[in-house]
Symmetry: C2
Subunit: 240 residues, 2 copies
């Protein structure tokens, strides 16, 4: 098993460690939760374990559909071995229904189904509050070339095409989600970061009950239970 | 001369009237000034006359370069006969240098020259504060088709290609500007609205002194003088 070396990075929800292998890292998921660019803070008991294991289920499903991800091996409840990448400083958001900041920005009802899934790019920059940007902005800021953006957009929509039916079978509506991509030492674009109730909007298909971090953001209660319920749905069917 | 009929619309800086001809309107420019989506209000003496006449100079120059505009005939110091159009609800911003909201949003120094001119679309909606949007948003909101957006983007860059050297000859750096487009009854896309110190950032080429509405927005003083100086530069050379 890979040995945890020096801590490379500590984020809001994860720590990343070096390993003996220069191309591999260990990600460790925390229970810490933040929202609104760090303005709201808390702890969601058991979140780290749910997010680690759920992300890994999704990464494995995506790899099965030829989406290249950073996933290598789950090491423990909260730790995963991943390929080391340089993160492209974009938050890549895919939306199937209007919700959250998009609904507010455009004056759309939350839950409005979009005519087609769309991809948005946000500049990953806490000091600026992760602003929505256009392709031209990304290029001018040197965040990504037009070719990078086209590749990322296409890959993000492929992730949606895989996860949306996977979740629908489990009674979950995939409203929207945030992805991050990185490049490994060979320059290959890999899906990185996590895919979890922290980074997705998951609604129960029938009741439209929120099963994601909006319960924390909006003080809806039942936060821990929602994470566990999502894990139950994703893991039970996986074990079939 | 066309006769002013019923008022069709009163905006922050202009009134629009019907005429006897169904395809023609009269625009009347006011001295009223607003900024920050109406949060700041005032009067800039003489602004209406400067903006009317300056817009018309620019529209004539653009027509000479085969940019289709709504301009028909200047009727008086403050009034112009224009083709009636249905406005596409987009604020189309062309930027040569970072300034204003873009500099703030992306953390760029005001005055940074961009690698190439870029076009941004804002959703023309006061209640939402005219948010920046992506092409996908414009399409989903039904504001414009991808073909419309491509045509508008191309035309906006053509306007820049004409006005930037025209102004440079007059010692004025065209930092950025906002355009609005409309469709006439035949469906033809026309450049509409105005092109003036209200809608452009004009900087003196040498001193970088602001010669535009930023003097009002930012309480820099000398607001009226800046509008008159811009009119002097645009009109004097035109008369050569």
């Amino acid at each position: 098993m890979a040995r945890k070396g020096r801590m490379l990075y500590e984020g809001k929800a994860k720590r990343v460690y070096e390993t003996d292998a220069p191309d591999l890292c260990i990600v460790e998921y925390k229970d810490d939760a933040t929202a609104f660019n760090g303005a709201k803070r808390g702890v969601i008991a058991g979140k780290g374990a749910v997010n680690n294991r759920m992300s890994n289920v999704f990464f494995r499903v995506l790899e099965d559909h030829n989406v290249a991800t950073h996933f290598v091996e789950e090491l423990s409840e909260r730790e995963t071995l991943v390929r080391r990448v340089a993160i492209v400083p974009l938050e890549v958001v895919v939306r199937n229904l209007a919700a959250g900041s998009m609904a507010k920005r455009l004056g759309l009802a939350e839950g409005l189904e979009l005519a087609r899934p769309i991809v948005e790019f946000y500049y990953k920059n806490d000091a600026l509050g992760d602003p929505l940007i256009t392709d031209d902005h990304a290029e001018i800021l040197g965040l990504a070339t037009p070719a990078d953006l086209a590749a990322i957009r296409q890959e993000a929509l492929r992730v949606n095409d895989v996860l949306r039916p996977f979740l629908a079978e489990r009674g979950v509506l995939l409203v929207d989600f945030k992805l991050e991509f990185g490049r490994d030492s060979a320059g290959r674009l890999l899906l990185a970061d996590e895919i979890s109730p922290d980074t997705c909007r998951f609604w129960d298909v029938k009741t439209r009950e929120r099963l994601d971090k909006d319960r924390f953001r909006r003080d809806l209660g039942g936060v821990e239970a929602a994470y566990q319920e999502m894990w139950r749905r994703v893991s039970e069917v996986e074990a079939r």
